[in-house]
Symmetry: C3
Subunit: 302 residues, 3 copies
């Protein structure tokens, strides 16, 4: 039993988005995980990690969908559930880095796409989806390599196509040295290509972040995203702030222009309160309001 570590997070709170009712929410993804490692000798380790994601408000698997029939078209969407949505991997690690097989994050997501957003891409204040143009968080059937060498972080992943038109390939390269962290990455699949670049610099009084995201769909539509963020230690916690923009380069239209603001307040080492707010001055809800809202959550890690 010493070979298994149980870990996780349970988070719940309230969210009010324009055009929607007040809801119980869970912005960072509540989870229950099991991981372990075994020394194989010669500096080599075998490792496994499986991580379930769930929605505390309903008690359901976070990915659970009952499916349904479109009343207009009659098209049936089957039910679906990816219980170990967070990840499910086995692999080997050593001085060469780490290889994981299974379901896991794309190389670009961990290595570049998710780096600059002060909100981690989550909640009403999230900027990642707009500024970094995220198309892949995780991939099934993945072979994922990552390694760090003198501050240079390298990651490459491929999700086997298994009969589909095209595999999902991804890479990221970064360089971290003291307060500086910069890098680039890309995701390529049958549907779209995304390329990301980021730079973060920790001034002490604030950690500044800059990100670029470019997407090109198979149909040729190009989108360009931009993100500026800052994480500012303030009182016992930290202020999260940033802006992000997305422009359709094909039509030369700015589709999203969002500001995010938040405060993260730790109650202890493993428990925190978090408030985030966001407002998009371009994107509108179905009833013509600006897309935006706020949330306030309690999170507890174990």
């Amino acid at each position: 039993q010493s070979s298994v570590t149980i870990y996780g997070k349970v988070e719940a709170g309230l969210q009010k988005m324009n055009g929607d009712s007040l809801k119980m929410t869970n912005i960072h993804g509540s989870r229950l995980g099991f991981r372990g490692a075994e020394d194989l000798g010669g500096g080599l380790q075998a490792k496994f990690q499986i991580e379930h994601r769930f929605s505390p408000d309903t008690g359901m698997d976070a990915t659970y969908s009952p499916g349904g029939t479109n009343p207009a078209t009659g098209v049936v969407t089957p039910a679906s559930s990816t219980f170990w949505n967070g990840m499910s991997t086995v692999g080997l690690a050593g001085s060469f880095g780490e290889i994981r097989l299974g379901r896991y994050y794309s190389a670009n997501f961990l290595g570049a796409n998710n780096k600059p957003d002060p909100f981690g891409g989550d909640g009403a204040g999230a900027l990642r989806g707009i500024g970094m143009q995220t198309t892949h968080v995780r991939t099934a059937n993945i072979i994922h390599y990552s390694g760090s060498f003198s501050g240079v972080n390298v990651a490459v992943s491929t999700g086997l196509k298994e009969g589909a038109a095209k595999a999902h390939n991804s890479f990221a390269v970064g360089y971290a040295n003291g307060p500086l962290d910069v890098g680039v990455g890309a995701d390529k699949d049958a549907g779209s290509d995304v390329t990301n670049a980021y730079a973060t610099y920790d001034l002490g009084v604030a950690k500044l972040a800059f990100g670029l995201g470019n997407k090109k769909t198979a149909a040729g539509v190009k989108t360009e995203g931009l993100l500026f963020g800052a994480t500012i230690p303030a009182g016992p916690g930290k202020v999260l702030v940033g802006v992000a923009q997305a422009k359709n380069k094909t039509t030369d239209t700015t589709t999203n222009q969002k500001v995010g603001l938040g405060y993260y307040y730790p109650l202890s080492k493993r428990t925190a309160l978090e408030f985030t707010y966001g407002r998009d001055s371009k994107a509108k809800t179905a009833t013509g309001k600006n897309v935006g809202g706020a949330d306030f959550t309690l999170h507890h890690n174990f």
Copy 2:
């Protein structure tokens, strides 16, 4: 890892109900749970608890339903699964009591509705559903408060409506002092209102229980339930016995009149055998038999 406690129950046995075949059953709800707490200082604690329910006879999630199409009406019921059906909460606890957010029991269920039935509402002998008129066990999107002050137990919960017609609100107040425990509670939602009252008194040779349950549906139909029960230490275990009745006040018809009888036999601190029997002298099966039956199960807690 010291921050997580694993607990649960696996139960299996046989049940034979009138009009149905002999089946493997699981009356009290087999479960696997994870819980933990962290001291935040000042007497405050962060707590989480997630509890899965399953059916050992099939190995399936206890709530799993494949959905289906009604052949007569063509109406499609989508598939469903609430993996953490028992509960999934995070919250804060201190001298003020405890607040839980997520999926949890209604205040009335824990505080009044489930108090008097010697059978805990489970198995062939169960009286709760008839005498206490249970409409809510648990609710999604809940904010649940409970506290105890000098023997007075208070609980209030609200399940956010999230766009539905009405929220589910609930409360319970009880007073426990030595052998006596009395209280009242209520559940209110868009479909029906339930109010419960209970009193239990432990004479030593037997713990007596009395319960009242009143339900009023949105359409105005009123039902009145009544429950008498006793838990009698006998030999190494205890005899469970009681009667319950439900009367439709609108039509002045007694719809259910049930007797329950059982024996709980502990094999050890964590393992027990249980037999329960019930017979309703009013309610009939599709083939005209009295609703009723018996079950015999082995339960093991961990």
Copy 3:
């Protein structure tokens, strides 16, 4: 918490079968299990064990099926998921043997059917399905007894019919003494009867295995299977080799004639690499190729 042991296996690798694309695979069944025991005194124990099976390549429950509609017939297959597919049992154990209630292996599967195949019935090299004619691995609503007395291993199981046409009954008897292990078993249900016989003998330089499998369907079709296998210690690991054949006795046609070859290479006590290859000289794919292929996987037990 001392009462719960967590165990499992995560396995992933690549498989290429004739007529199919290269896929990520998981031949032995990745799993996460929880088990425990409690002494009841007098040599008696209460035991529980629940075991989830999952697919690391997708992160999904291994049994998850979204269901669907047959476009030609309109017949709807509902969604399904047996989360604790491995097993979910509670029971009692003592000098008399062990009784388990819940979902579990059939007596024949554990006691005879799965004994001779060097591949354990898994992967491209698997011989069990052909030589031993497997119809039941596990059964719901099972009462399973097993016991060992002076080298004689006895198992009997019945899966309650619960309204179905017929229960699933099974037994197995074996005798193990030093290098020798021989036995017979059978599964009987509404659909088909299977009888198995096996003998394995460990010569030291190789463990030889022989198996027989006979199946008779309710419609009267008879199939006879035959299996020869050897597990040969070689270098740090072991070579797995064998042949299996299945003949339709009703039409006097040999439907399958398969050779399996593999190598199991332990990297440590709990981690291994495995290669298996198989080729059926009789069975053909949809495009007329011989059914067959190869896989290479990493497995890690915890």
